[in-house]
């Protein structure tokens, strides 16, 4: 029974929020009265949910995502919906139809994406916790760029019911906060089996982080420190890994040969799935309305041309092409084989080590408008997509600065060993603070 209300009137100078709930109801529970922001691709009953797209402007879901239901049951106050790249497609939150979110560390730079709004809301202390989603790095990238903590859970550990799908086989809802402890607390609330999600596993998360990482072996992939990664960023991350060694972990060099396919496999998979997921937006059951005076196909085309931004239309077309007659074998089928290759590379490495560490992003946050070429933008996901392809847990924790901008240390673990990933991040965080 929700019987209290939190007054929430933030000074949102970063455009982190698309919807603010000025009077947010909350109840009893572990998160009682705690303000939590929810990314705007997660369905919230009675609260507008737009995925930062014009095609969903005004859409008010009649149901809660499972993770949101769990949040409400834990007593949290859902204080607003955060800005994002439209439908999750982007690395900077510049693809929002409602203006970009600014990075609180430097308002001339992007906060990362696609969960940029959630990251900025947390980084600027508007909220202590937020839910984001991660398809190819969309929690970890903004966490790294804004200097906060963000976890992409093992695929299937958090229900996707109510998450407006972009790429079903890759994405997860995950916790974002300033501290590893808060990320862990939020993970406790949202993880666990949901019978409404056929891809969800019965693996609740009940862990309290510990700092003991003595004896853990950490793999350091050459591909995470090579060409394409800013040497200054690499340097800061290497120092952070050194700290982990001081805490009792040992490092082992390793290699992920399938990295060379990873980005292509990721973009083929997500564009194909997205082209199908986004076809339902015809303005008939929700959205801006289709013109009944036009014929069906004309009206449908017009709704999509007007309602979807350029990047979304580009990805839908790429996905449609890759799935079209004659191309399925060349693209989608091959991408799934490449994924198996990535999975088996990780499995091989994890038979020797317990964790893998490296930078989250190849650079610090870009300046607004800096990355205008789509392919160049896609390439910046190279270090984050492998964890999505393999379904393994991955966290980004702040580990220093380059040119005054935050750098993220990424730690990945075996499937369902989110707890160990959290512990390593916690150990590092506690040691440096």
């Amino acid at each position: 029974m929700e019987s209290h209300e939190l007054t929430f009137e933030p000074d949102d100078r970063y455009n982190a929020f698309l919807t603010v709930c000025k009077k947010a109801p909350y109840g009893k529970g572990n998160l009682s009265g705690i303000a939590v922001a929810v990314k705007d691709n997660i369905s919230t009953r009675g609260i507008e949910t737009t995925c930062a797209s014009k095609i969903l402007k005004g859409y008010i879901p009649p149901y809660d995502a499972h993770a949101v239901e769990l949040l409400r049951n834990s007593g949290a106050a859902i204080v607003g919906k955060t800005n994002m790249d439209e439908f999750g497609m982007g690395t900077t939150t510049e693809n929002s139809a409602f203006g970009p979110t600014l990075n609180p560390c430097d308002t001339g730079r992007v906060p990362g994406g696609s969960s940029g709004g959630s990251a900025a809301a947390v980084a600027s202390n508007m909220v202590p916790m937020a839910l984001g989603t991660d398809t190819g790095g969309s929690i970890r990238c903004p966490a790294a760029f804004c200097g906060i903590v963000g976890l992409k859970p093992t695929y299937g550990r958090v229900s996707r019911f109510g998450l407006i799908a972009y790429s079903n086989s890759l994405e997860q809802i995950g916790p974002m906060a300033k501290t590893v402890s808060n990320v862990s607390t939020l993970m406790q609330v949202i993880a666990g089996k949901d019978r409404k999600d056929s891809t969800s596993y019965d693996r609740p998360y009940t862990h309290t982080p510990v700092t003991n990482i003595k004896g853990l072996k950490i793999g350091i992939p050459g591909e995470y420190f090579g060409e394409g990664v800013d040497p200054k960023v690499a340097g800061v991350v290497k120092t952070a890994i050194g700290r982990l060694e001081e805490l009792g972990a040992t490092t082992v060099p390793c290699s992920i040969p399938s990295m060379k396919f990873a980005l292509a496999a990721y973009y083929v998979t997500c564009t194909c799935e997205a082209s199908s997921n986004l076809a339902r937006f015809d303005g008939v059951r929700y959205g801006p309305g289709a013109d009944s005076k036009k014929s069906w196909h004309e009206a449908y085309k017009e709704v999509r041309r007007a309602g979807f931004g350029t990047e979304v239309r580009r990805r839908i077309m790429l996905g449609t092409f890759a799935l079209s007659s004659g191309y399925y074998g060349k693209y989608y089928a091959k991408a799934q084989i490449a994924r198996e290759s990535v999975k088996s590379d990780f499995a091989r490495i994890f038979s020797e080590v317990d964790l893998i560490a490296g930078p989250t992003m190849p650079s610090i946050a870009f300046k607004l408008g800096e990355k205008s070429d789509p392919l160049s933008m896609y390439l910046s996901d190279i270090l984050t997509v492998p964890a999505n392809l393999a379904g393994i847990p991955a966290i980004s924790v702040p580990c220093g600065k380059v040119d005054s901008m935050p750098v993220g240390l990424q730690i990945m673990g075996r499937p369902f060993e989110d707890e160990r990933v959290i512990d390593a991040a916690y150990a590092y965080e506690q040691a440096v603070n």
């Binding site: 369905s43 879901p61 149901y63 019911f161 056929s198 799935e273 199908s276 076809a279 009944s292 449908y300």
Partner: protein
């Protein structure tokens, strides 16, 4: 195969009779309720909603696979069939593509020449039904559509046959046998409107194949195919090519028409449904127990009730009819079966069809009583028909239902036994009133006797026993002096 042999294949879609929909808990009992009242985020395709498979739908589909002798695949999977249409709310249908539930199998039907024919099947799979469109408006006010999503997500089983049928009639027989089998398995209710849809593929040997989509009635299938055979044979005779195309059947006029070409762009971009997990259910087949199926029941009716092959075929052709028959004769199978089989198969069904009346409205006990009375011989067959008609009409019009005995008494239909005076009077009157008939009879014209019999029957309102009547009439005719 003859040079102009007709080749037919069918794709039959049947709604599975589960309580809830294929991927959500919405009730499937939507037909009496208003539009959009049996809908939830999942079957409405709201963003973020996810499907969860209804176990019973797979159990039902596997029963069908077993009854039709199919092989269930080791691993089967759902796929997305992507296309854009207002009644398809996700813009994809969750169906099965390259890994269906089962493959192969066959169905035995009565061939056109008598005897049995085996129609091979290609595959069986499970998929969801889309919503329902109602077309509105006109050219002046503007055309638009109204959509009702109650039907969206209803589980369908699709049974695909090889192109093994050789005539529209065989197609109808296949369909009837398939329908009966599904009813016997209790997985399908054919009385539900729209519960069966058929796509038919037809070609004349050596020519292109034409697809006729979305035929919604059993009779419609035979009509559509008959029309197509004629249409195609005419084209061939005129030396024209048959176009490979998709057509649709118009029930009201009985013709097929070419469908609009946009739907020819059939690139469905199939890929495996990422929100569902694969099925490994081959091992379930061993545990599936089949009930008595139509063929077995037919054989049992012949053996147990002494039915003729034709009667047995008719009576077991529909589950409800077979159950009805057994209920009627239950009290005295030995005594009642033969007569009941004749009366139900040859008379009752016809009377029901004539009244567009469903068997459900008939009281089995009443029929048992009627058949018993007929067995005793206290009324003539003609009176029996009259009584039956009264019984049915009363039920049809929701009037108080009388027992056969009450009707017989009220209408005074009991055979006149012993006292022949009424018949003799009627005979004399009939002969006197029809001198020409008497002449014809004397001239040896056979029809004259029957004519007079009919006249007497009219006068006695059918109460005269035909055998007795014939004897008495012949005697009376002989007595009349020339």
């Amino acid at each position: 195969m003859a040079e102009d042999q007709v080749i037919v294949g069918l794709e039959v879609h049947c709604q599975l009779d589960t309580k809830s929909k294929l991927f959500c808990g919405c009730s499937t009992d939507y037909r009496d309720d208003g539009p959009n009242t049996h809908v939830c985020p999942v079957c409405l395709g709201l963003p973020g909603a996810m499907p969860v498979l209804n176990k019973r739908s797979i159990e039902y589909a596997m029963k069908v696979a077993k009854a039709l002798n199919c092989t269930v695949l080791h691993e089967s999977e759902f796929s997305r069939k992507n296309y854009f249409y207002p009644d398809l709310d996700k813009a994809y249908q969750i169906t099965q593509y390259d890994k269906p539930l089962a493959e192969g199998g066959y169905l035995e039907i009565e061939s056109d020449e008598g005897g049995e024919r085996r129609i091979q099947l290609t595959r069986i799979h499970v998929e969801e039904d889309p919503g329902r469109l109602v077309h509105m408006g006109n050219a002046e006010r503007g055309k638009y559509s109204l959509v009702d999503y109650n039907r969206a997500g209803i589980p369908l089983i699709e049974i695909v046959s090889e192109p093994d049928m050789r005539s529209p009639k065989e197609a109808r027989k296949f369909l009837n046998k398939l329908r009966a089998t599904l009813e016997y398995l209790s997985v399908f209710d054919s009385d539900k409107e729209g519960s069966l849809r058929v796509d038919a593929n037809i070609s004349i040997k050596g020519n292109e194949r034409v697809e006729v989509k979305n035929i919604t009635s059993y009779k419609g299938v035979e009509k559509a195919l008959t029309y197509e055979v004629t249409r195609q044979k005419n084209l061939i005779r005129r030396g024209q090519r048959i176009e490979r195309e998709t057509r649709h059947f118009i029930e009201s006029t009985g013709i097929t028409q070419s469908s609009r070409s946009k739907e020819q762009e059939h690139d469905y971009r199939y890929f495996p449904e990422p929100d569902l997990r694969p099925l490994h259910v081959q091992s379930w087949m061993a545990g599936i127990v089949l009930p008595e199926l139509p063929d077995a029941r037919r054989e049992r009716f012949i053996a147990q009730y002494g039915c003729s092959l034709n009667h047995a075929r008719t009576l077991t052709g529909e589950l409800k009819l077979a159950n009805f028959f057994e209920k009627v004769v239950a009290a005295d199978p030995k005594g009642l079966s033969t007569l009941a089989a004749t009366w139900i198969a040859d008379t009752l069904i016809g009377e029901l069809n004539y009244r567009s009346m469903s068997l459900e409205r008939v009281d089995a006990a009443g029929i048992t009583e009627l058949v018993s009375i007929l067995k005793q011989g206290t009324i003539t067959d003609k009176s029996g028909i009259d009584v039956l008609r009264v019984m049915l009409d009363q039920r049809l019009k929701d009037e108080p239902a009388e027992t056969p005995a009450a009707i017989i008494s009220r209408l005074n239909l009991a055979k006149t036994t012993g006292d022949n005076s009424a018949i003799l009077t009627a005979i004399e009157e009939a002969i006197t009133e029809n001198p020409k008939a008497l002449e014809d009879y004397r001239a040896g014209k056979g029809g004259a006797l029957n004519f007079l019999v009919g006249q007497v029957m009219k006068k006695t309102r059918g109460k005269a026993d035909p055998g007795e009547l014939n004897r008495l009439l012949t005697k009376a005719l002989a007595k009349r002096e020339a």
